[in-house]
């Protein structure tokens, strides 16, 4: 289990979760945590923290515990240093943007946004001012009198955001709020979230299964699997030093290659029938028995056969995907290995069209220091060190 490195942290984090576990009654399965270990993490003030994982990994349950909608079997939640574990949702300084928005259809936009302030007994004039201010902030100024049914998906999303933001929560919880939006609106809302975070200083926890979205907006990401946090890091760190093959695969940083391990001190070789990868094992993996290698997509040099480069791995281009800024290449090496490489437009121009087409044979090169060694989590699924081999 990775413990978060305390960087220049403010005196007190906005949110601290300690040893959270959720076990449903009558079941032996843990939705969050495991019998031996609970989920623990802390979120700094003003940070956008993402909980990332496939569906069923426990990320939404974790969020619901923070919001007070589910009770943890064990553990403790502190917000601004105050224990809120046993508090009801309406007694917590958190507010949530729900996945389905959960807007109140019998109220207009302003009614929805003012609802929380009314519950707090904020006087009318002040309430109106804050509703207007918040609607302006999310770009819905002038829409106060609209009915919910008259709004587009993106607009409803903004109302849900405004409704939660207007209460100035200590922690704003976002439960896959962008999932229902189309790609363009989603990108727009991602920028909006970052802008709102910066202008209001709100602490945000964002649950998502979309690794691109998490990387695009989060300051730090917690990758979850089977109710456990596998790794907490900045998006860059997740790309460069994924903790294990699950994280590397989920982040989609490159090609994971498994093979027979052989070690000499800190030197390691992962031998796949079609390719051998040698390098230096990082200190934190010395106790791990099964190691896989990851070839980062953007660290692979692709050259044509007649380029004169030495010691490359030869392969056939199977597929070529143009994403707008780069080409993603699927290169078949040997019989069963497919290596993915990213080629910039400039590199592509240098390679020439005749070398960059399905069926063309190319050479792939990488430096030993670019190989990322990770724990092979499929070989050790419990994510716990095995007994010595």
């Amino acid at each position: 289990m990775h413990i978060d490195q305390p960087q220049e942290m403010p005196a007190r984090p906005a949110l601290t979760c300690t040893d959270l576990r959720v076990r449903y009654t009558g079941q032996n399965l843990y939705a969050v945590g495991s019998p031996t270990l609970g989920v623990s993490f802390s979120v700094n003030r003003g940070e956008l923290f993402a909980l990332l994982g496939a569906s069923g990994c426990g990320k939404t349950t974790t969020l619901r515990i923070i919001g007070g909608f589910a009770e943890p079997t064990t553990g403790r939640i502190e917000i601004e240093g105050v224990d809120v574990t046993r508090r009801q949702p309406y007694e917590r300084p958190t507010n949530t943007v729900f996945q389905s928005y959960a807007l109140f259809p019998h109220m207009r936009v302003e009614g929805n946004v003012a609802y929380g302030l009314k519950m707090d007994g904020v006087p009318g004039a002040e309430r109106e001012r804050r509703v207007k201010e918040t609607l302006d902030l999310v770009g819905l100024g002038g829409m106060e009198r609209r009915r919910i049914s008259e709004l587009s998906g993106g607009q409803q999303q903004r109302v849900a955001l405004a409704r939660a933001l207007v209460k100035r929560p200590a922690v704003l919880l976002l439960d896959e709020p962008l999932g229902a939006l189309d790609l363009k609106v989603r990108r727009q809302m991602q920028d909006e979230l970052v802008r709102i975070k910066q202008s209001t200083g709100t602490t945000l926890i964002h649950v998502t299964h979309d690794q691109e979205e998490a990387c695009a907006i989060a300051d730090r990401i917690a990758v979850m699997k089977d109710g456990m946090i596998v790794q907490i890091d900045t998006p860059e760190a997740l790309y460069h030093t994924p903790r294990n093959s699950y994280v590397a695969g989920f982040i989609d940083a490159g090609t994971i290659i498994r093979g027979r391990n052989s070690r000499h001190g800190s030197a390691i070789e992962v031998a796949h029938p079609d390719v051998q990868l040698r390098g230096t094992l990082p200190f934190y993996l010395t106790d791990v028995s099964a190691i896989a290698a990851m070839l980062p997509r953007n660290q692979i040099k692709v050259s044509s056969l007649n380029s004169g480069a030495q010691d490359g791995v030869r392969g056939t281009i199977e597929r070529l995907v143009f994403t707008g800024s780069i080409f993603n290449l699927h290169v078949r090496v040997g019989t069963e290995l497919e290596i993915r490489a990213a080629v910039t437009i400039e590199e592509a121009a240098r390679l020439g069209e005749e070398n960059l087409r399905p069926g063309a044979i190319v050479e792939l090169h990488w430096r030993p220091e670019d190989i990322v060694f990770v724990e092979d989590s499929d070989a050790a699924p419990s994510n716990r060190p095995r007994a010595h081999a």
Binding site: F69, T94, T96, A102
Partner: protein
């Protein structure tokens, strides 16, 4: 491939099917013709039109004709209506009935709300069906017998007063539990509870649970959440429950009189009296028309106050377990209230005392033996069975034909057919009964067994049709398309693919319709000739006094309809339940 895709595409999007496709002929239309034939719902629609709307028109015409010496005279006049508005006793009676029914209905709605809320919001989805069945099965058991169960409870010698005196809480019988207005209201709350429960339950279950979470998240305490979110979003369902209960009670001329004696003479009695010994057909017609107008006005006014229905979101099935000890306690108490009278009735049927009531002297099965040897009663049962089997067979056949077509089309024809077939569900059987006797009178036709069968057919038709329709709607239409792709003609595809899957719905519809027909009293009493069905027999015996033998018949009938309904409901929902389990388990 086009042939396969177009039938469903054309059907489901309606107008899209008629989009110009010059090169390819409209194959979709040709392929679907067998099952989309607009003539299929015709028998059902005609049954309602001929059996209900035509007589209703006659009733309206009659209301403008005077009665001279017990004979209707074809001479246009508004004298019947003038008589109502100038005779203070008449409109006072209408007001009094409205007041009593409104009070009882409001009480029903208020009392059933916590229970409905509990089942819809606090019970895990997999277990809800059980609760619903327990709550609504009494509704489908014999109406008269439930009244009889309460007859045992009320009065100076009634079980409630006896028990209270026995326990030393009171010395003399309380008037509250005598045969009066309070007794009528209590009985109606009891009788109508399942209706308002169901309406409220459906409305609450449709509320997206995330909305409740959102309100709590924004700082709303539980009671404010109830007032600001739950009640406003469920209000149309709550009002529907009120209206159903209100109409059901207002059209009942038997219960208030049985329970309340002279106190229980309500507007419905006033109407039926005109067609009985008074023989004031024209005036009776006017009273019935005013009755319908008053109900219509009430519905319109309530709708206007409540406003339109907000889209409260699709049913999400989302659920978070939370304890609710108070609600659990309340719900259990309500179930006790619901089941105690029939349970006591069953108990009393084994009492060897000559009088119905406590004390319990000794155990005997002699009342059951007596019942089974009663020739008049067995004759009545035989009549009831003949009526039920005929009516249900007709409505099942006609209703299935209609459902098959209605499920396949969209647009105004669908709405029209569905509306026509559903009408008898929303109007009191009293009006249907009156319309039928007036219609027969106008044509000079004698009443008989067949009039009862016709009336029951019209009453059960919407139930059967809607239950089958719901089943068919739930099926994936692509399965039939796939069958046609594999070479089955439309009817063949329907019979081999959809019917087997819809069979539980058809069976459940048939069983529930059977139970309704077996228990029907309000309409039967009006349209019968000299025939006596079981409920009519019970009613005529009840008017004299409650006997142990009556308790025994009732216990038998309760047992029978209970079994019938439970089996029907279980068949209808068996698959759903399995699916529900799989969903929550995953």
């Amino acid at each position: 491939m086009d042939e396969v895709q177009s039938p469903t595409g054309g059907v489901q999007t309606g107008p899209a099917g008629s989009m110009p496709t010059p090169a390819i002929p409209p194959v979709g239309r040709r392929l679907g013709r067998g099952l989309e034939n607009p003539l299929l719902p015709l028998p059902a629609v005609l049954a309602v039109a001929v059996g209900f709307f035509a007589p209703l028109a006659v009733l309206i015409v009659y209301s403008f004709w005077p009665t001279v010496n017990g004979r209707i005279v074809h001479d246009w006049t508004i004298a019947n209506y003038l008589r109502f508005f100038t005779g203070e006793a008449y409109w006072r009676m209408l007001l009094r009935s409205f007041e009593l029914c409104a009070l009882a209905s409001a009480l029903t709605v208020v009392l059933s709300f916590p229970f409905a809320y509990f089942v819809a919001a606090k019970v895990p989805p997999a277990r809800r069906l059980g609760w619903i069945l327990i709550a609504i099965i009494p509704f489908w058991t014999s109406y008269l017998i439930r009244v009889l169960a309460w007859l045992n409870m009320f009065g100076d010698q009634g079980l409630i007063n006896q028990a209270l005196m026995e326990m030393g809480i009171i010395d003399t019988p309380l008037e509250l539990f005598g045969f009066g207005k309070p007794a009528i209201i209590i009985t109606f709350v009891y009788l109508l509870f399942p209706l308002s429960f169901l309406a409220t339950y459906i409305a609450i279950e449709r509320i997206n649970p995330a909305m409740q979470d959102a309100a709590a998240d924004l700082g709303a305490q539980p009671w404010r959440k109830l007032v600001t979110i739950t009640l406003p979003t469920a209000r149309s369902g709550i009002i529907a429950g009120f209206i159903f209960a209100f109409i059901g009670m207002l059209g009942d001329y038997a219960t208030p009189q049985l329970i309340g004696g002279t106190n229980g003479t309500l507007y419905a009695n006033l109407i039926t009296n005109q067609f009985g010994y008074s023989l004031q057909w024209g005036f009776g017609g006017a009273l019935a028309v005013l009755f319908l107008v008053a109900i219509l006005l009430l519905v319109i006014v309530l709708r206007a106050i409540v406003g339109g229905v907000d889209a409260a979101g699709e049913y999400t099935g989302g659920y978070t377990h939370r304890r609710a000890p108070v609600l659990v306690g309340y719900s259990i108490l309500y179930l006790i209230f619901l089941y105690t009278p029939p349970a006591l009735l069953m108990l009393l049927s084994f009492n060897s005392s000559e009088e119905s009531g406590l004390p319990f002297i000794g155990f005997t099965t002699r009342w059951y033996v007596e019942v089974l040897n009663n020739a008049v009663l067995l004759d009545a049962l035989w009549t009831s069975l003949k009526v039920a089997v005929s009516a249900v067979l007709i409505s099942a056949a006609v209703g299935t034909l209609a459902a098959v077509q209605i499920v396949r089309v969209r647009g105004s024809m669908r709405s029209f057919n569905l509306g026509m077939i559903s009408v008898p569900l929303f109007l009191p059987p009293l009006v249907l009964g009156l319309a039928i006797i007036v219609g027969l009178h106008a044509l000079g036709i004698q009443r008989g067994l067949w009039t009862i069968i016709a009336g029951h057919t019209i009453l059960t038709l919407p139930v059967v049709t809607l239950l089958i329709l719901v089943r068919l709607e739930g099926l994936d239409r692509n399965q039939e398309t796939a069958a046609m792709d594999l070479g089955a003609r439309p009817w063949r595809a329907f019979l081999t693919i959809s019917v087997p899957q819809a069979l539980p719905g058809i069976l459940a519809g048939v069983m529930i319709a059977f139970a309704i027909s077996l228990d029907e009293f309000i309409l039967t009493f009006l349209v019968t000739g000299s025939q006596q069905t079981l409920p009519l027999y019970i009613f005529s015996s009840l008017r004299i006094r409650v006997t142990p033998a009556l308790n025994a018949i009732s216990a038998l009938m309760l047992g029978a309809s209970f079994a019938l309904l439970t089996i029907g409901a279980l068949i209808a929902t068996g698959r759903e339940r399995l699916r529900g389990r799989a969903r929550t388990g995953g």
